[in-house]
């Protein structure tokens, strides 16, 4: 994380916190409406980060731009929802996880290993093929209706902090729980990457494939592991998104929501995926509420991309991405 980017992020969030605290200090009783909007945006942003996280993990470790992440989210959610009809939640979760791990192993075996050393765009196209296959396979095996996924997430919005502000603050509890899950997941991933031997090996692979291989780190096994972790992230994202929107084909399109997030945060940075998600979620919500009417609505489809594009014009490698150094 470069110093400028860190300072910018700090300044950004300090501003938000200051905005939230200022009514208490100056004695105004109402929680400002724009902050309520911003809070909703931030919570949605966390959900985008969940998908973006899977993309970043794989790109870091294997240099593959994994377009199949969205399809993996759909596949995981579909598998879970259909298994839950037959067995209790905990068993279904474990079984789905096992299936995702098997999938990771198959992808490494059948797609990545034969394509080793190919150009990035060829690998990207291969993951598009995998995405097509998974979309078809998931629906052929598990059916293509809309399923409701109920894992006990609270559904109703709730008004909190009524004591502090007049009228309280309206928060979508489902988003809040999801944000909590996301935070726990990120903390777990951080621990895994920083403290375990496997995590260290993964970071070595991410830094330099050849150097990692020359000190005896088995590349193929690392790829299976990182795709398994991405499968786990996909499962979590599938649970969260699935219980929010229902498990259906459009779930595989959440990848398109995650792309501007990784672009803005940088393809190689896990904190970038989080901060990027927050900024995109915030920008999208604020634009929807305050700019949407002027444009005639429906701008959320492209606004995130344009926002990310503007950031990229100033930092072409994203906020926290590795600095791109050109050498001849």
């Amino acid at each position: 994380m470069t110093a400028t980017a860190r300072n910018l992020t700090f300044a950004f969030f300090a501003l938000l916190v200051a905005g939230a605290v200022s009514p208490m200090v100056i004695g105004s009783a109402r929680f400002p409406q724009w902050l309520e909007v911003a809070l909703g945006g931030l919570l949605t942003g966390v959900l985008y980060s969940l998908v973006a996280l899977g993309l970043v993990l794989i790109f870091k470790a294997s240099g593959v731009f994994n377009f199949a992440q969205g399809a993996m989210v759909l596949f995981a959610a579909l598998t879970l929802v259909r298994l839950m009809e037959k067995m209790p939640l905990a068993v279904a979760l474990a079984a789905t996880l096992a299936i995702m791990f098997a999938l990771a192993w198959l992808i490494e075996r059948l797609v990545l290993r034969p394509l080793v050393n190919q150009e990035g765009i060829v690998l990207f196209m291969a993951t598009l093929g995998v995405a097509n296959f998974l979309d078809g396979f998931g629906q052929a095996v598990w059916g293509s209706q809309i399923y409701t996924l109920n894992v006990g997430m609270p559904k109703e919005p709730k008004i909190i902090l009524q004591g502090t502000f007049e009228g309280g603050v309206l928060v979508d509890m489902e988003d809040l729980v999801a944000a909590g899950i996301a935070a726990a997941l990120v903390a777990a991933l951080m621990l895994f990457f920083q403290k375990t031997a496997t995590g260290r090996a993964l970071r070595a692979v991410a830094d330099d494939h050849q150097a990692a291989q020359s000190v005896g780190i088995p590349l193929n096994r690392m790829w299976v592991i990182v795709w398994s972790v991405a499968g786990l992230v996909a499962l979590v994202a599938g649970v969260v998104w699935g219980s929010k929107l229902g498990v259906q084909f459009s779930l595989s399109q959440v990848a398109l929501k995650a792309l501007p997030v990784v672009m803005l945060g940088g393809f190689t940075s896990i904190p970038g995926a989080i901060v990027g998600g927050l900024i995109i979620g915030l920008g999208e919500k604020i634009s929807e509420v305050y700019l949407g009417p002027a444009f005639g609505g429906g701008i959320e489809n492209w606004f995130a991309y344009v926002l990310a594009l503007v950031f990229l014009l100033f930092r072409p490698e994203g906020l926290f991405g590795e600095k791109i150094i050109d050498r001849v």
Binding site: F65, L110, V111, P114, L115, Q118, E119, G120, I121, V122, F124, M125, A126, L128, G129, V130, A131, N132, F133, L134, D135, G136, F137, Q139, A140, S144, L256, L259, P260, V262, M263, F267, F295, G296, G297, G298, I299, N301, W302, Y305, V306, A308, L309, L312, L313, P316, E317, G318, I324, D326, R327, V328
Partner: protein, 354 residues
Amino acid sequence: MIYRETGQFKTTYASDQQLFPILQDRVFVIAFLVFAFGVMPFIASEYMFRAILVPFLILSLAALGLNILVGYCGQVSLGTGGFMAVGAYAAYNFAVRVPDLNLLVVFILAGACATLVGVLFGVPSLRIKGFYLAVATLAAQFFIDWLFARVKWFTNDSSSGSVSAPPLAMFGHPIESPAQKYLFVLAIVVVFALIARNLTRGAVGRAWMATRDMDVAAEVIGIRPLTAKLSAFAVSSFFVGVSGALWAFVYLGSWEPLAFDVNRSFQLLFMVIIGGLGSILGSFLGAAFIVILPLALNQLPTKLGIGLSTAMISHIELMVFGSLIVFFLIVEPRGLARLWAIAKEKLRLWPFPH
């Protein structure tokens, strides 16, 4: 034995630099064109024209345009569907608002509009590279989708959002029958393929390829990245815009913005990669593959007599399509055009192994 250049001496620069330096290639290409123009219109069925030949030719043109950008200049774009939409709606507006305009002029103006938009969205390529650029071009795609769906002026205030092309005519002759449409599209595609071929083997094409191989090195030897990248975006968008206009006017007839959504962009990128990056022939092979494959997959279960629900067929179609993409990438990452080149190389040596 049959295919080799032994005995074909080049005595002038012109003969050395001609389009197809080997006699057999020339004969083959001319025979193929004679067949496509003179024989095909009489032997193909109406279904063949409608479902295979016309879409194949139009998408080849779009793939050709995309190949100039991705294959020759190395700028990955996922906004092709959007640029096709610009061509289609520009052609529609010119045709509706200026009624007596010649159809060819309409198409060229449509291409020009797409060029403007393409260059505009190509500007970030000067700063953003690789996958970042690919994702950035998605901004173009989604913005253009939204624009044509929301701004009523572009659709001439049509209430449903879908628009219809006026009847096609050239110099007073109506273009109505499938065979006429086929010949019209074929003529345009041949001209554009010739232009692409000549552009890519000239100074412009060399500048593009140098930029693709390493843009910093290209800059060092005196190629301006600004002109190289933006000219690639301009030429590519022109091709794509014309193909979008053709797709709307000749193939669809009436359409809505959904016809040019992000899946079209991915489909075209598939064509370029499966066909072969940086190859004119590859654009055609890739387009043929992607157009014919779903049709074949769709009809296969019925032909084999397996009763499947339509939903199941579409799921299996997705699966087979996905696996075939991966399979082809593994077998030949450089595309079908590379297989063709290997075959020619082998033929030159045949019957000797080396």
